[in-house]
């Protein structure tokens, strides 16, 4: 259909406003608003057409997200974005494909989303990129012992798979310890790690038990005797590392101060309390939406074409939407915590951390 | 011919024998009264016979069949019914539903998820007749929990009538029944077909209905004889009856 001049374009944002991931949701939406302002020059319009954003809360529950997405699509939204959690993203993606609308997933990090269907894009990073960033901490992987310490479940297993492929592929010997996410005492596991004497430990952990886990690794002298790499989570979590923080090597998707470009400045100006890990995801999503509407109007096929292969500068630096599988190639960061504050060691450019291309499934 | 026999029935808690080597024979159609001081083990004996407690030693047989190891409901199916010393009815059901449930348990067909209970006229009519028999028909729609004590006792008898058991164990059916209602209830009890074992402290009632009387004392069977003989027994006089008021 030919775009009707002047008619607003409807965009639906389905993300966590309440529930366990509410603070990720907040970073996302603030980033999004800043990004929208920046990309439209403060007008909220593309080609003279207003962008009408409707927000819906999924409370981290896929059932609610699907309801909200169907509702928005039923009301004429051509673009759905958001998805704070992987579970939500994976269930909204098929809905987008079935209804032929564009879906730009947010902070959800699962690799399974990449290449899931033609209609699905992502505005954040994926787990594979974390693992690639972790690899950058060992200079010569061949012959090294690498141990993955992760929580049981899809997140943990996919991290183990990625490490085995990436670092194991480079010649290291990869083993893993998978632990229930809600374990209360991590001492036994920490002691298992110590006994294994690995050269590098990659920790993939998210959630409320992180503090206890780090404490156990520290007390059982794992941190002191080997290199431990993990992903740096949002600001609020930095203090939970306590004394252990300085003994860990961090890879980071984003932290306040990782970059200092125009976009970061303009984002920071619009976000209360400074940028955080998922601010760029929201910012990118807005940029991608503006691009899609600008080039495609109301035509989803044209939007897809406009996004595929598109490179743009954003908060993190240069981003590229890979044509084959819609992975978002982007920089990552090596960081250390000093007195609870992250300090940049090195920015990794997108090529160094690009995930392997997968075939588009649908 | 004896319908219910216990042989050396014993129940111990720790070292104490609550029921001590009790052997009783209840004959077909007989009315056997059980008396004994409080704590003699009468209710416990009933519990062993009806299967609510596991026996320590001894056997219970019903119409020649050994039922010692059976669960309460299996004994009930074989024709053993009982009432409780403390009234026990289904408080949240109406009086009528209480009795219908009992009738249905007797007649079978309880495991029928897709049939209408109300379509079974036989159950309903039988239940009504049981209620009429104990004089509770006017309370049929009341919730059993709201009945006064004496009415609950009558309902219990109705539940028993409904099951039409061959052997009935009545545990103090007259306790707490107002003087006015006693004769009525005695008539109901006399009208029971089947063999009855009844614990009761009202001696006049026992003497009126019982063919024989068993006396329990400290868990053991002290005597089991005709009413006249039992009343004349010096130990019974001393341990149980005491002086007249």
């Amino acid at each position: 259909a030919a775009p009707q001049a002047g008619a607003p374009v409807k965009v639906g944002l389905v993300y966590s406003q309440s529930g366990a991931l509410a603070s990720y949701g907040k970073q996302y939406i603030e980033g999004f608003k800043a990004g929208l302002a920046k990309a439209t020059g403060g007008t909220n319009k593309v080609n003279g057409r207003a962008i009408e954003v409707t927000e819906a809360d999924d409370a981290g529950d896929p059932a609610k997200a699907v309801s909200a997405a169907k509702d928005l699509i039923g009301k004429g939204a051509k673009i759905i974005a958001g998805s704070t959690s992987s579970g939500v993203a994976l269930q909204v993606a098929p809905i987008a494909a079935q209804n032929k609308v564009l879906f730009i997933s947010g902070p959800a990090a699962t690799d399974a989303l990449t290449g899931v269907n033609r209609y699905t894009f992502r505005s954040g990073r994926q787990s594979y990129q974390d693992v690639m960033a972790a690899k950058s901490f060992i200079s010569a992987p061949a012959g090294k012992n690498v141990l993955v310490f992760a929580q049981e479940g899809a997140f943990g297993t996919s991290n183990v798979a990625a490490v085995t492929a990436v670092i194991g592929g480079a010649g290291a010997k990869v083993t893993s310890i998978l632990v229930p996410a809600d374990a209360k005492d991590f001492t036994p596991f920490a002691s298992q790690i110590k006994t294994a004497k690995p050269d590098l430990v990659f920790v993939a952990w998210a959630g409320t038990t992180a503090a206890a886990m780090w404490n156990a690794l520290d007390q059982q002298a794992v941190l002191a005797t080997t290199t431990v790499v993990t992903g740096l989570d949002q600001k609020a979590s930095h203090a939970t590392f306590g004394a252990a923080g300085e003994k860990v090597s961090f890879l980071s998707h984003y932290f306040d101060g990782a970059t200092d470009n125009d976009f970061a400045k303009s984002a920071a100006a619009n976000v209360s309390g400074g940028l955080d890990i998922f601010s760029p995801d929201g910012f990118n999503a807005a940029q991608m939406i503006v691009r899609a509407i600008g080039e495609g109007g109301d035509d989803v096929e044209k939007m897809i074409t406009a996004l595929e292969g598109w490179s743009f500068d954003g908060v993190k630096g240069k981003n590229t939407v890979r044509k084959d599988d819609h992975a978002l190639l982007q920089p990552m960061f090596q960081v250390k915590l000093v007195a609870g504050k992250p300090q940049l060691i090195k920015a990794l450019n997108p090529d160094e951390v690009s995930p392997p291309a997968v075939a588009m499934k649908g | 011919m004896s319908v219910l026999t216990t042989e050396g029935l014993t129940w111990k808690i720790g070292e104490v024998s609550i029921v001590d080597n009790v052997s009783i024979e209840l004959n077909q159609g007989e009315f056997l009264g059980v008396i004994g001081p409080n704590g003699a083990g009468k209710t416990s004996l009933f519990n062993l016979i009806s299967g609510l407690r596991p026996v320590t030693a001894g056997r219970v047989s019903l119409r020649g069949e050994d039922i010692t190891g059976l669960a309460p409901h299996q004994r009930a199916r074989r024709g053993l019914g009982r009432t409780f010393q403390a009234s026990s009815v289904f408080g949240a059901l109406t009086v009528a539903e209480n009795v219908r449930l009992a009738v249905q348990a007797r007649m079978g067909g309880s495991m029928a998820l897709w049939r209408r209970a109300s379509a079974n006229r036989a159950v309903i009519e039988k239940a009504d007749s049981c209620l009429t028999a104990v004089g509770l028909a006017h309370r049929a729609e009341a919730l059993a929990a709201t009945l006064a004590h004496g009415e609950k006792r009558k309902l219990e008898i109705a539940l028993l009538l409904a099951a039409d058991p061959a052997v009935l164990l009545l545990d103090e059916p007259m306790a707490g029944v107002s003087a006015e209602d006693v004769p009525e209830l005695v008539e109901v009890i006399k009208g029971l077909t089947g063999s009855v074992l009844m614990v009761e402290h009202h001696m006049d009632v026992i003497l009126e209905v019982a063919d024989r009387i068993a006396v329990m004392h400290h868990g053991a069977l002290l005597a089991c004889d005709t009413p006249a003989a039992v009343m004349a027994n010096a130990v019974v006089q001393e341990a149980y009856l005491g002086e007249e008021l």
Binding site: S18, A56, D57, A59, D61, P62, A63, K64, V66, S67, A68, K70, D71, L72, G74, K75, S86, G87, L90, Q91, P94, A97, Q98, N99, V116, N117, G153, A154, F155, T157, P180, A181, G362 | L52, P72, H73, Q74, A76, R82, S88, F90, G91, A92, L93, E97, R100, L101, A102, Q104, A105, R106, S110, A112, L113, W114, R115, R116, A117, N120, A163
Partner: protein
């Protein structure tokens, strides 16, 4: 009065049928939400077979629901939808019968805890993603194997019909069961299982029947739910879900014919709409948390409608008959 009490369910049913046929309510978002509400209405009613009608407080009902959800989601790509739903039903029924046979050997709170524990194992297994089957905490989207009439926003109405069918089935089954001789035994067991035993019926068998039937209804509900939502997620196996069912039943009125259905529908509706409300009006602090409002509402309901919403009308009538009886 009598005519009203007799005919309102028919009226409500007609209303359900009419919903897709008018412009006001025939929107995908509305139908989707209503479909979810109806599924939970049916689930709550099935749970009430245990709680309200037989007096069994199970804390593990979510397990059988989750079996329905995951078996359908896993098998649909392999064997097609009808067979997948059939297997889900069979699996739920079998597991309910097997675990019920164990759990029912204990009574009271111990029974509640054993069911809770079994369901906890279910939740742990689902979260661990054994063999990559369940997708762990990321869930399992339904992306292929669905018949075309269930795909796409335009076909949401078919999901709605599916939910209506499920709810109707549950209500009819439970109604028949409640009126049946077995239903009478259930009521007896709820009151005093020992007494039922002495009457000559084995309470264990009847409890097991109730437990298995409730499990089967929950598994079927799971199979419908996964179609409506379009995927499975760990939440369906959590003990929170059972607690929510309990809340729905109590809100609506345990042991009543339509109370649990009403409770399930109302709770689900509020659960979905309240968060939207919080966003729209930018409500401060706790008021933006749906669970805060729902929890508070629930507490108030326990105080002010003991016996549930369904007994509101009845309490007025019972008072009237009571008065007229004591008059003479």
């Amino acid at each position: 009065m009598n005519a009203l009490t007799r005919w309102w369910p028919v009226g409500a049913f007609l209303l359900l049928i009419a919903i897709p046929y008018n412009a006001l309510t025939n929107a995908p978002g509305t139908l989707q939400l209503l479909a979810l509400c109806l599924v939970f209405g049916g689930l709550a009613a099935g749970y009430d077979l245990l709680f309200g009608r037989t007096g069994l407080l199970s804390f593990g009902h979510a397990l059988y629901f989750a079996i329905g959800v995951y078996v359908t989601a896993i098998l649909v790509t392999e064997v097609g939808l009808p067979l997948a739903m059939l297997f889900a039903l069979l699996a739920g029924t079998t597991v309910a019968a097997a675990l019920g046979a164990i759990a029912l050997r204990v009574k009271g709170i111990a029974f509640s805890m054993v069911t809770l524990a079994f369901a906890q194992v279910g939740a742990i297994l689902v979260a661990r993603n054994p063999g990559g089957l369940t997708g762990g905490e990321e869930g399992l989207p339904l992306s292929s194997g669905l018949p075309s009439f269930l795909i796409g926003v335009a076909n949401t109405v078919n999901l709605y019909w599916l939910a209506v069918a499920y709810l109707t089935l549950v209500v009819v089954v439970l109604h028949r069961v409640a009126q049946s001789p077995t239903g009478r035994v259930f009521a007896g067991i709820r009151d005093d299982a020992l007494r039922v035993d002495v009457l000559g019926l084995n309470p264990y068998r009847y409890k097991l029947v109730a437990f298995t039937l409730a499990g089967a209804l929950a598994a079927l509900g799971g199979a419908v739910y996964v179609l409506v939502v379009g995927g499975a997620s760990t939440h369906v196996a959590s003990s929170d879900l059972t607690l929510t069912l309990l809340i729905m039943v109590v809100l609506g009125g345990p042991g009543t014919r339509f109370g649990p259905v009403i409770g399930g529908i109302l709770f689900t509706f509020l659960d979905h709409r309240l968060s939207q409300l919080g966003v729209t009006f930018d409500l401060p602090g706790p008021l933006a948390e749906p669970l805060f409002i729902l929890g508070t509402l629930f507490i108030l309901a326990v105080y002010f409608f003991p016996g549930g919403l369904a007994t509101l009308g009845r309490r007025v009538t019972s008072r009237r008959t009571a008065l007229s009886r004591s008059a003479p």
